[in-house]
Amino acid sequence: MSDPTAPAREPLLTLRGVKTFYGNIIALKGVDLDVHQGEIVTLIGANGAGKSTLMMTIFGNPRAREGTITFAGRDITQMPTHEIARLNIAQSPEGRRIFGRMTVYENLQVGASLDGGVHFEEDLERVCTIFPRLKERLHQRGGTMSGGEQQMLAIARALMSRPRLLLLDEPSLGLAPLVVKQIFDVIRELNEKDGMTVFLVEQNAYHALKLAHRAYVMVTGTITMSGTGAELLADPQVKAAYLEGGRH
């Protein structure tokens, strides 16, 4: 209260000193990170930096060996994965992980199961408006969709649970530039219109930094820089490492 620079509210998601290991190999070396209600926060970093590991650690798979993770004031560090999800955090994970032998419609139903299906029709309508392509393909098997369509489905499936916090791991991966733009527009719209809090991992640093309110840079398991999206976009080091040669 006395500190005028402190944010008005406690962050929605906090990580403090989070360390994650694969066997004996350390992947996250003590990560501190905050995501506030209503923000778009992005995390950028080279391949193998540990971005996806961080996204999955939030869900307890793999579990943080040290440090604490809190969501909406609750310590979720040791909570089972499905219970974390039930706190209304959704993730469109790396590799999309569509249920290939289920139809698009069923994938969305599984995404909505937390909600008990009460808002299903309404939410289906909504994601179909966001991604009209899905509407045409509701009864196609997930596994036979194109890569881009699967990406849309992964995001749509995450949206079906009406999450308070949406985690997106490289949503633009493998998509045509026009679709990338469309996906980033969708994220912005969800944030502005619905006030959805978004935590975004991206290789496409330029787009991500333009979109995000705040951003973090990760290098081999450590956060090396943070600031507003605009600050990092202007930073010479970030430019050299992540934006070089990009015509975007």
Partner: protein, 306 residues
């Protein structure tokens, strides 16, 4: 021709029983990638439960109506066996999840030995008969040589009960959120958990459903043969497992189809060739099919986009 039709009827009856057991193998394999070797013994155990409940119903409670008795027997057998299935998973398999791959398999073999020995000790080693019931047959026709083609009431009951239960089961798996959770875990457990599905609970449920269907098979087996012994888990178990592999392990329609095929091969072979070699015939067909279709008849060669 007459013999053929008769054997067709017999084969489908037997195949129904195999199919019901095979579903348990295929579902468990689908979700945790493990062959539940104890499943045949769970089937055998369910037949004993059915036997006991049947005797209680008729001798002690004096229930006269065979239909009512059968209904009660089946429901109780399903419930009790489901509880066994749940317990076996909790005690013998869950603690080993995440351990090396062979560990649950070894545990399953141990469970199989335990179950058959347990029943042997508790119920004795001899065949246990029940008083004959539902003896009526419908004579379909009598051929020129005097061979009668008949359909027994038992066979009608077995096929009808199987059809009804498979329909209910299919509906649950395809159309309910429970079934979707089950399929989601089967395809990608990690993702299912991210969507809030309790994976452990879903795996438990798979064992419960598999055991309940095995109990239906056990009840039908008892009805058909009128006798059961502690060793009866093995051969039907292996046949049902063969059926699951033949149909394509992991595939539910495959399990049923496989069961029917194995049942038919067995009865046809017995009728036209030698009854001693009927099992060899069934397993040979398995080998031949697997050479040409390594993932079984309805199995899926894994071609999924990454």
């Amino acid at each position: 021709m007459d013999v053929f039709v008769q054997q067709l009827i017999n084969g489908l009856t037997l195949g129904s029983i195999y199919g019901l057991i095979a579903i348990g193998y295929t579902m468990v394999f689908g979700i945790i990638g493990m062959v539940n070797f104890a499943h045949g013994d769970v089937f055998m155990l369910s037949a004993f439960v059915a036997l006991i409940v049947f005797l209680v119903c008729t001798a002690w409670l004096g229930i006269g109506s065979i239909a009512l008795a059968l209904f009660i027997v089946m429901i109780v057998a399903m419930l009790v066996t489901a509880l066994w299935g749940w317990t076996i998973e909790r005690v013998a398999y869950r603690p080993l999840r995440g351990s090396f791959r062979l560990a649950p398999l070894i545990s399953a073999i141990g469970m199989s030995i335990f179950l058959s020995n347990f029943v042997q000790v508790a119920q004795g080693a001899r065949n246990k008969p029940i008083p004959p019931m539902v003896q009526d047959v419908i004579v379909l026709w009598t051929g020129p040589t005097g061979y009668t083609v008949a359909l027994s009431y038992k066979q009608i009951i077995i096929m009808a009960v199987t059809a009804v239960l498979l329909t209910i089961f299919w509906y649950v798996v395809q159309k309910t959120s429970l079934g979707r959770a089950q399929r989601a875990c089967e395809q990608d457990r990690k993702m299912a958990a991210l969507l809030g599905i309790d994976v452990d609970r879903t795996i438990s449920l798979t064992f419960v459903i598999g055991a309940a269907l095995a109990a239906v098979a056990g009840t039908m087996y008892l009805l058909y043969y009128g006798v059961v012994s502690f060793a009866d888990g093995f051969v039907p178990g292996v046949k049902a497992f063969t059926a699951a592999v033949l149909g394509g392990i992991g595939s539910l329609p495959g399990a049923v189809l496989g069961g029917l095929i194995i049942g038919l091969i067995e009865t046809m072979w017995s009728a036209y060739f030698s009854i001693e070699y009927k099992d060899v015939a069934a397993f040979s067909i398995l080998a031949i099919v697997l050479i040409f279709m390594p993932s079984g008849i309805l199995g899926r060669p894994e071609v999924e986009k990454v």
